[in-house]
Every structure is written in C-alpha cells, then in structure tokens.
Subunit: 406 residues, 4 copies
C-alpha cells in the first residue's frame, strides 16, 4: 500500500490517485441490512450508535479486502432524512451523534490499516421537496461540520440524481479546503432533470470537484457506459479531474433511466442479480482501462467483491495483495485443495472467466420491466412527510401500480 | 425465547423441541469465505484462532436474527482434514486449538443470548480413503473430547454423504451422554452408497440419534423432498426422533444426486442462486408443516435468512421476534417509509410472495448440467494426500473434464 | 427405400421393420391448423373433404422428406368426436365421408412414393364418458370399416391416455387381419388410470399389437424416457413387438403426467418450444440406439423435422436420402454458399450440434407450471355434450382456474 | 375485401391504401425451406419451376389467411444471385424461367382471390461487389422486364441494406409507370453505410417510391422502432408516401445493427424465437396505430401469422374476415370446444394477451451476442464467386470466428 502504518504521514487521496489506483470500500447500507442492523426503507445508519461493533467489523473486512478508504457510514444521515416518513431515528439518536460515531469508527479502523477516511454526504429530501439552495446547503453543513471537526482526509458527495443538488454540495464541501469527490447515481442516460451524463461530469468538475464519477443505481457495466460518456465530455471540455466509480454489485441490464430502484425486485428480491467475484474482476479491469483510478463499490458489494477489485489490480498497485487474499488463491486455484477431483478440475482462470452461471430459477425470467411513474423533484407525491404512510395510502399506491402496469 | 438470560437454567435442545421450534444458525463457512476469513477449497475454520472477532460477530448476527443455537465453528476441523491436500493449517494451528477457540467463542455469544451451544463434527477424509472404523472414530474423538471438556449443550454430526460413517459418528457421540443430532448431506435420492433417504433416516435413528435430518448440498425445497422421504420411513418403522433440516440458501433444481458441488457454478459463481428472504419464509413454513422442528441453514444462509425463519415461525414460538426484526418490518412493510412512491407501493405481502425475480443475466441459462464423474469412497482419485495438487494434475483433470462433458 | 415404385409389390410394414427403419410422417393436425384448415379446439379433419388439395400437399411434403408412411388424416374422426361440444362437422360432412376422403388422398400420395398407408383411429369421447366397451368399439368399427374397404396397408391406434381403451381398440383392429400398431399418448409416468408405462406396453403387446409405442403429449426426449420403460418391461415379459415413437416437436421438460395439454401455453403459445432440426436428429439417433425402428412425429412436426429423421438414419436405411435433401446439405453445409462470411463459418456439424439456441424472450421464463385439475374418465366435467360451451361456463372455468393456481 | 372477384376492375394498391389497410403475404423463402423446396444458404426460388404446386399452395394459404397481395416468388432471383457461390440454379433453370413461373403462379392465385400481384426484386451480389450503378440496374431490369410483360399490379423493391442500391432500384422501377414500393432490411440504427433510418426513408421517398418501409432482419417490434424513425423523418421533410412493414416472425431483441443474420442461431436454430399469433396481433395493432397501412410479414411468417394480422385489423377493413378464420375463433375462443375443461378455461382474450410463454429450454439463455465482423459492400470477403466455398475456406472462417468471439 502507499502508506506507512507507523511514522511517515499517510499520503492523501489525490496523491494516491496520481501514483496509482485507490480502491474504495463497499456497500454498507445493504450489507448491514442483511446483517440485521439497517432497516430497509429508511436505509439510515443509526447502527453507528446502536451497534458500533457491527459497523467496525464491516469496515475491517473491507480494509482486509484491500480498500484504501473507510467511508464514514453517514449515508442518508442528514437530519431531514432521519426524520422522513415515520423513521424517528432523529429523535432517538440525533443526527450529530450518528455522524460523530461514524467518524469515530471509520478513523479507528482506517488507522489500523493506513487507510483514508472519507466523510460522505448524499442527496436530501429537502432538495426533492423543492425547498431551495439555502435549506439544502444548511442540511449539508450539519454533517460537514462534524467531518471537519474529525479531520477526515477527504469529502465525498455521493448518490445525487440531480446535478444541481450535487453542485450545491460541492460548493459547500469546497469551503473546507479538503479534497472533494462527487458522484452521481445516474447512468448513461443522464440525470433526472434531463442533463446528459457528460454534461453532469463537466458541471461537477467546474464546480470544483477533484474527483468525479458515478455510484449506485446501475450494475458495474452500465456504470462504465456512463463513465465513458463522462470521460468523453470531460476530455472535450479539457477538464481533468480524477475519475471514480462505485457501482452496484447487482446486474441490471434491464434497468431504465432511474436505475435499480424501479426494478420490481428492488429491494428484497435482488439476490439473483448479485455479481460474482469474476464479474467484479472484469469490471475492475475495464474500469482501469477506461482511465478510472478510484474504483470501489456501492450497494451489494460485500468484502469479497472489494477483494476482487484489489486482486485484479494488484500489479497496478505495485504488487500489493490484501490480507484477505491469504484466504483466496487467484482465479479459483484454491480449489486445487478440494477433496473431490471434479472440483479440482475447476481450478483454472479460463474456467471461471468463461462460465455463464445459471440462475437456478427456471420459472423466472431473466429480465424485468421497470416500474415507470416518471415523477421527480417537486412533485406532490414526493413532498417530505414526517408521519408514517398509512395503510390507506398503501392501498392507493397499489391501485396506481396496477393501473400503471403496461 | 424459551430460556432465561439470567437465573433459571437454560432449557436443553430436546426440551425446546418438545415445546416448539428450535431455529438453527446459518452457514459459517460460506459467510466467512465472503468476509475474507475462510479459504475456499479446504474450507477449514482456523479463523477461530486467527480472527476470533470475525467469528464472534457472525455468531452475534445469527443470534440477533433469532437463532437458538450457536454451532461451534468446527466444520472440517478434524486433524486429517486440516492437513489435507496442501492446507497446512494443522501445522500452523493445531486441531485442538482451533476446536477450543471455536468452543470459547460459541459459548460466549450463546450466553449473551440464552442460546444453546452445539459441538459439531463432520465427515472425514479418513473415511473416504477407506481407512476403517477405528481410524475414523479416532478422528471424531479428538474433536468430541474438546466439546465435552467445554460442556457443550448437545452434539451434532452433520454433512455426511455415507450413512455408515454417520452411524460410526453417532456411536461415538452417544458415549458422551449428551443429546445427539445427526444430519446427512443427501437429497431425495439417498446417500453415495445407494442407501435411500428413508433408510438413512431409519439407520440414524436406530444408531441412537435424538434428532435426525438433512443439511447442505441442496436447496431448501429439494431438502424438504428428502425430508418427506425420511419422515415417511421413520413413521413406517415407528421411530420418532425429532426432525431437523439446514439446507443451502442456493436454488438447485438442477442438481443431481451429489448436490451442488457437482454444479459447474460451485463454488464461485453460485450468486444467482441465492435465496431471497421470501423463499426462506416459504421454506420455513413448509418445513414446519412437514413436522420439522429444528430449522436452520447451511451454506449460503446469511443472518437475514435466519431472521426470515424466525419471523415466519414467530407465532409458533410464542410470538417471539428477534432483535434483528427491530430493523425489519414484515413482508416489506418497511418500504412504506421510502422516499419514492412506486417503492412504497411494494409494501405488501401479496407483492413479495408472488414476485418471480428476474436473474438480470439474459445471456445465461436458468439451469446447468452437473458434472458427473460418479466416484466415491475408496476410489483412487480420492485417496488422501498431503502434498498440494500439482499444475500437471490440474491439466489432467481439465482434460478429463473435457472428455466427460456430454 | 425398401419399395419398388413400379412392378414388385410394396413391402409391408412388418417386413420393412424387420429389415430396417420405418420413418413415419408428421403432425397433420397442428400443421394444418397453422395453414388454416383445421380448427384448434375440436381439432377435427374435415379438411379432407373441404380442402383435399391442402391435405394432399402436406402428405407430399412428408413423403418428399422421406416418410415411408402416409397416415390417413382421420385423427379424432370418430362420429362422437365430430359432434362433440358444438362442432357440427358431423352434420356438415359425415364421418364416413371424411374418413373416405382421407383414405383417397393418402393412397394417392402413397402410390406416388411407394409408401404405406396407415388407417388411424384414436381415443373417443365415448370412452371418457364411461359408456362402456361395446359403445366404444362401435365407434372404432365405423372408421375401421372404411379403412378395410380401402385396403390400407396397416392400422394404427394412436393417442390413447387409458390402456384399457387401446386394448379395446387393438381387439377390434386385429379382427381385420392387418398389422396393428398401437401408441399411447403417455409419458414415463404412465397412463391416466395409474398403469405404469411398462405395464401399458405389455398389455398392448398381449392384446396383439405388432408394433407398440408412444405418441404425442411429450417432447422427443421425454417420450424416449417412456420408451425406455416400455422396452424394459417388454424385455422382462419376453415380448417382442416392434417399437414405435412419434413425439411432439415441442420441448416439454416442464410437463407433468398429462403432458403438454396442461402447460399454460397449450395450444396457442407453444412456439418457443418448437424443436430445431438438430434436436430432431439427436432424437432420431437416440431412438434408433434404443432399438426403436418406427420413428416419426406428431404435433409440431413439420416436413423438415421428418427430413431430419431421414437424414440422421440415412446409413441405416441403406444410404437412402429423401428428395427434400436435394434442398438441404447435411449439418448446415448449405451455408457455405451464403453471401456473408460469418454465416459461411457456421457450415459445420460441430457448430450446430453444440449450439444452445436463445429464446429471444428475456421477459419470459424457461419453464411453466402445468395446470393440474386431475380429473379423468367418467368425471362429470368431461361428459360429452353436443351443445357449445356457453359464455357463463367459460366464466366459471376461469374462476376455477384462478382458485386452482398454486 | 376491396375488390370484386368478377366484373368490376380490381382496385390498385394505392387506392386500397388510401381507403384502408393492405395486408401483405408472408415469408416464402423460409416457409418453403421448411417444406423442402428451398435450399438454405442460397435461398433461391427455383421451386417456381421445379415444384409450382408447392408454391401455389403456399400462395393460396396466404390468400386464405387474408393477404391482399401475392408477391411473386422472385426473391434473390437475379441472375447474379442464382449463380453465386456454387449454386448452379441459373444453369439448371434460367433466371427468366424462374421469374416467369413465379408470375404465372402468383397471377393464378391472385385472380382466385381478387388479390394484387406484386413483382419483387431485392439486393444483388453485383452491388455488394462494387460493380457500379449500370451493372446493378442491368440486373434489376432483367427481372422487371418479366414483371412488366406479365402486367403485375405493382412493383416492390425489398431487402436492401444500402439505401444507394434501393435508390437505383426505385429509379428503374419508376420507368415502368407502375406503383412502386420500397423496403429496406434495416432497423432503428440505419443502413450499412451509416445512413440513419429516417434519412433512408426520405431518400426512398424522394427517389419516387409511393410506399416506403422496412422488411426482414428484425422482429416486429424492433421493425416498428425503425418505422417510428422513418415516419418522423418523413413528416419532418413533409413527404407522405404510404408506410409499409414486413418484419420477421422471430423475436430478436438481441440483434445488433445487421439484424438476425448475425445471431448465432441464424438460420437453423431460430425456432425458439418464432412469434405467436398473439404477438403478431399486438404488432399489427401497433403498426396500424403508427399509421402504417401496408402490413405483412417476411421470414418466419406462416399463414396463421398473416391470419392474425387480418383478424386484428378486421374492423379497419370493413369487418372483413378471411376464409381461414372459419377455422379460427378469436382470441382462443375455439378452445371452448375442447374435451378437457382446464383447456376450455383458456378460451379468453385476457389469458392469451398476458401469457408470457416459457421457452421449454432451461439450459439455454434468452439472449445471444451477435457475431460482429463488421464488413460490408466492397470488402474482399464479399466479392462474388461462382465456385463453391472449399472445405479449407470453411476451416479458415471457423478459426476467424473463434478469434473474433468476445
Ligand atoms: Zn448504493
Ligand atoms: Zn453447507
Ligand atoms: Zn400429437
Ligand atoms: Zn425475410
């Protein structure tokens, strides 16, 4: 790794990107939901206060897998989000407590492994409800204040569907003087206001982001399609931020513009779409060849997926192999130790690279048609509410779903 | 739960089975492989010594999900297995150290949650190499000695492909005086010596097992087919052990007699087959209705899968809901708190129960043809070796694979 | 071919079977439905009277494809069938007219190609309604009388779901003194009264059938599974009729005991399941290796499918290649004449033998669950009616379908 | 129909299009290949001379299905095509004989049904080999001369991959003074020289085509995507030819720019992709709503597919129902006459409209990746040859295929 565990000061993120690859960590929200610490629906990170040991262990697994970064587990931890629609986490644990605890844990594990700490903010209900720049930036500042107080190594604005909101975010983040990374959760078709992926990249770069890219909502390969467009537009505008990508570890060739959330399987039946480690290695190689130097994962990425990124780009990282690879031979070679000979015969790169894995579900299709209600920022349906959605509301929404189905 | 955290003595496993349902824990080997602590191939549990914190955290997640049992992480931890085929774990950490550490961790977490500790043994290379009853039982005794010394609550012989070997195991386990559970990793077609599933059950019961069943190798529903046969044969022979099942959390409708190991995707491309929480709920309900009272999971079962078992059978467990369900509303109701309305519309049982999840892989089939080399105990190919399989051997095996493909 | 177009008398079917392979013709009912001459639902053959030119052309195409036999197009042409449920064909054209016309056409084309004429009868509504042996045999005799009057070469009782009914049929057919072939439309699981496939074969042989086998309801490979059981039982009982198989040209791995009729796609959405010529060649080879010597097709078999049977077994037929093969090079070699090079590159056996053809329908599954109402002979629902099913009845049936869906 | 069988003169194609819908006929090449009269590879129509009865019968089936047009079976019947690459049909039967016979048969059947006769020409090897306008138009004229001599009702230039060639074709066709229809075998991505679909339409219209559209190469719905672009461009350029579409009856969502020929399954394993009658009805409705008034089919379209078009647009055709519909109740109602009740329950529009038909092939994927060699007009590989491709050439092409596979 490009850091010294003791003594010499840690290299910053921009320095590391200049010298080589930065491997990001994975998807905390989904991983912790499966472990029982995050509630699907609100997706908020009060686990940093309620079960720090679980958050810590997951950070450790990502570092063990070769991640260079510990992102603070602060996704959706803006006050407005914590209060949204009946999730009273903000009353149980204040936003500041949650964010502070996240910083503590991230720093503790980052120090163990010579990693960087990234303070992360994301899109807000306040923006979606049309409350305006000041209100939105005020939400951002609450979290940023804590990140600065904890002297995180850099800042990350991720998961934005509207370039305008991420511009506002970058503006506030830049005030800190720290390196700023900005990712939008968009695909090749651009953002929710019709701004192309390329134009979004240019605007993020012009707003001052040092690192620009895409995260979440789409599978690794669809995200790379989006990144190709971003890179082309940046090159054309003669802008040269570092490129970053942290896709889903779910295959979504059938997603429409708004990504996996519109797929009927979101969020509780995405299992068949989970990527294998070989698909992630393929993604990592293509990302690198595209010129992307910050490569990590979002929802669905488990530690072994990050390990796959590390292993694929080991040479590019000066031969570095993460600790987790002590328990993982390359390309299935670990199978040579298996009891049964027909499994030992699979201990070959050629085998796993070319395998087309069956789904095991002959009564299910391979693709779905996304739901398509086409509403976005400002629409009545999206106005922020604090009271829980009632049963009557659910019935109405179900009826609308039936009417909308093609 | 049917236990008192402080004061009154824990109810034993047989008592709990008499009164209601016992929920087992999940698949440590595969879960820890994905977290970076177990090496695929040997699949051995030296993590109990190398990274006890990771093993502990996983135990906690299963308990949090409602598991009544902490199985000691001692799968494949017989001395002969630890030495097999180039895995030198037995030299690095002795078998006894690994087993002892497993007991420590299991006990610690079990005590936190009023759970039972099960000491587990499994099939050995010694048996497969035809070394005979004495040698095989000697291997078992090494592990059992430690379990007895640690006063585990009951003993479990799991993952046996030959009923003869599990009979020998039960014999030794019975010597301890503790309750004995026995599971074979077989499906509806019976064991590897041609003994039917029903006959296997009868033999396990006659050997003295208090709890009889199936684990691993097949998906939940195929395992239940096997359990139906076991139950029918036991009823016919007027034998009444408790029934137990701990299947894979991978769908395997295309597996042949030897189970998922023969599927081309084993072990590194099983991702599409991962069960959803709804499929596990369906499984738990069918298992219960079949009369099975010990219901848990094996490879592929993550904490949220065990939580699904607990939630499905909450009524049957006196209304008990595990802690993990504080972060999980039933049947997707948690989605009523989501920002986007078309996702809130999915907050209904009817929706998730009937959804046929797409695989997201249109270029892949839904089923595979298993490899079929048809060898078993005693065959030359399976004789135990301590030296690592050479590259030349892999080439020969690959050639044999090509010739064997239909 | 084993016949002389002029001069020497045609060899009979038993003689041809003794010397080699007899290739049957294909599925008239389904082929003519697609051409616009048969109505799906009643599936009756009044086209022999209404459009003899269409029936003649199809016969010619099968002979051109190498068929040795012209089966009279008399499927479902018993009087009771022609009157069943609102199909007034029996009033418009009498049963005898339809059968006679069928004989005329078959004989005309058979004579052109030195082929045999087979007079065919099939199961009756009279049997299903429980009217008894005498009534059922009376129906058979009406058709047989015409076949005898036209001196067909042999007789075929095909498409029986109950072995009892086909025994009654064989009895009557034997009275003619002509060779008798008997096929049941059953699969490996046996007939609708629970008689095993093997037992059915034995009973057909003991009733006096010279040729015994299976037709319709299942795909080529499932039919061969059934034939394996038939052959084993016949061998065991030391009975040696010739074996015959005429399967669907639709893939039905998901069919249940009653075959493709229960599949949700029957009969108007079976298109994805149509077999390719390569699948039929594979089937023909496996059928031959199983010892079957009369190999043809039923529903779904178009002329090119029969040509595939002929081409696969050309050597076994003394090098005979049908006329249709003048327009068909073996194994795709005809592609070597194609304009585009990447298509010429597919002119290889290896290519087509190993191709796994994509369905082109990513939103559809690969398997279906059959409807399963489980009723058969005698049940009220099946009693013969002459009045058309009313709209009210359809509504009731639809409701029952909804209730029955698992 | 809009014609009088006796007496009053037949209405011309333009008049019929003005008044309503013209239903085209189906795919002769593929249908006759399956019947044994056309050789796959060269795909030439010498059957008009060798087996006119088969060609006649197919014409009759399409007319019976409601087709308003009998296209002369002259696809690929230019002299250069007949000589191409080892197909010596031009020596066996001259191009003029083949074309004349085609006219005879088409006229005979058209007169029976009051239909129109269309003389058809298609793209030539001469163009692909870069021989220039004069040589290409000379080829066209040879066929056109015969069409004019036979006084066909209108002329159709179909199956062109390069707009330049079809412009040359239209130019020659216009000389005759007869109505001219022009179709390109392109999809939404445009022609093989990079000209957009919209621009192609505009150029065809400006060249003087009265009817403009798309045929072949893509499935019904992909063709309609192409037609949407054509219509938009024509509207924008204020051009108003009639619109025409004759797609494949094979589903090709996975085809790339060059259409189904590049799919690995072309041409011998397309069976799973065959459209059902319901898919064709859906297509016909969408085509009509798009403003297309000449709706027929190309490769894969069998008579029942054309009947589906006729039935869907019966109202729009003044309530006309073709003769073939005497053997076909709407939307599966014919099933109400079926013996088994669970099949009668499917006699409903709602059922068939919403069914997602399973492929019956769980070991096959739903999509394929097209071969992609990317060569077109003028490339060495495509130069016309008269000698058959040698075995050595096939080996080289196979090797290139292996190298090219991604
Ligand atoms: Zn995400
Ligand atoms: Zn397991
Ligand atoms: Zn049939
Ligand atoms: Zn075509």
């Amino acid at each position: 790794k490009m850091s010294e565990a003791n003594g010499a000061p840690k290299k910053g993120v921009l320095e590391r990107l200049k010298e080589g690859v930065v491997v990001g960590d994975g998807g905390f929200v989904f991983a912790l939901e499966k472990r029982g610490y995050v509630k699907a629906g609100p997706w908020t990170p009060e686990a940093t206060v309620e079960h720090p040991e679980a958050v810590r262990q997951l950070h450790r697994e990502f570092v063990r897998a070769g991640a260079d970064v510990c992102q603070t587990f602060t996704f959706y931890a803006s006050d407005d989000k914590l209060e949204n629609r009946g999730n009273y986490a903000n009353k149980t644990h204040t936003g500041s407590k949650i964010n502070q605890a996240a910083c503590d844990i991230a720093k503790e594990v980052a120090d163990e492994g010579g990693c960087l700490v990234a303070g992360g903010i994301s899109q807000t209900p306040t923006y979606l409800s049309g409350k305006g720049k000041e209100a939105v930036q005020a939400e951002f500042r609450k979290q940023i204040k804590i990140f600065v107080a904890n002297d995180v190594d850099f800042l990350l604005a991720e998961y934005y569907e509207h370039v305008e909101e991420v511009e506002w975010a970058i503006e506030v983040l830049k005030e800190t003087g720290k390196p700023v990374a900005a990712n939008m959760c968009i695909g090749p078709e651009g953002d929710m206001h019709g701004v192309s992926a390329g134009e979004c990249a240019v605007r993020m770069a012009r707003a001052g982001a040092d690192i620009v890219g895409i995260n979440c909502h789409f599978d690794p390969f669809v995200c790379l399609e989006g990144m190709r467009k971003m890179k082309a537009a940046l090159d054309k505008a003669d802008l040269h931020p570092y490129l970053m990508v942290q896709p889903l570890a779910y295959m979504t060739p059938d997603a429409s513009k708004q990504g996996f959330i519109d797929l009927p399987e979101f969020p509780f039946a995405l299992e068949p779409r989970v990527c294998s480690r070989w698909e992630i290695q393929k993604f990592a190689r293509e990302a690198y060849e595209l010129g992307i130097r910050y490569i990590g994962g979002c929802c669905g990425f488990e530690p072994y997926h990050i390990r796959a990124v590390s292993e694929e780009l080991s040479k590019e990282r000066g031969g570095f192999m993460p600790e987790g690879s002590q328990k993982h031979d390359q390309w299935g070679l670990g199978l040579r130790l298996h009891t049964k000979p027909w499994v030992r015969a699979r201990a070959r790169r050629e085998y796993w690279e070319n395998l087309k894995p069956a789904s095991g579900r002959p009564f299910c299709p391979s693709c779905s048609k996304p739901d398509n209600w086409g509403v976005t920022a400002g629409d009545d349906m999206l106005k922020q509410k604090t009271e829980a959605t009632t049963e009557e509301e659910i019935k109405q929404l179900a009826a609308k779903m039936r009417d909308t189905v093609s």
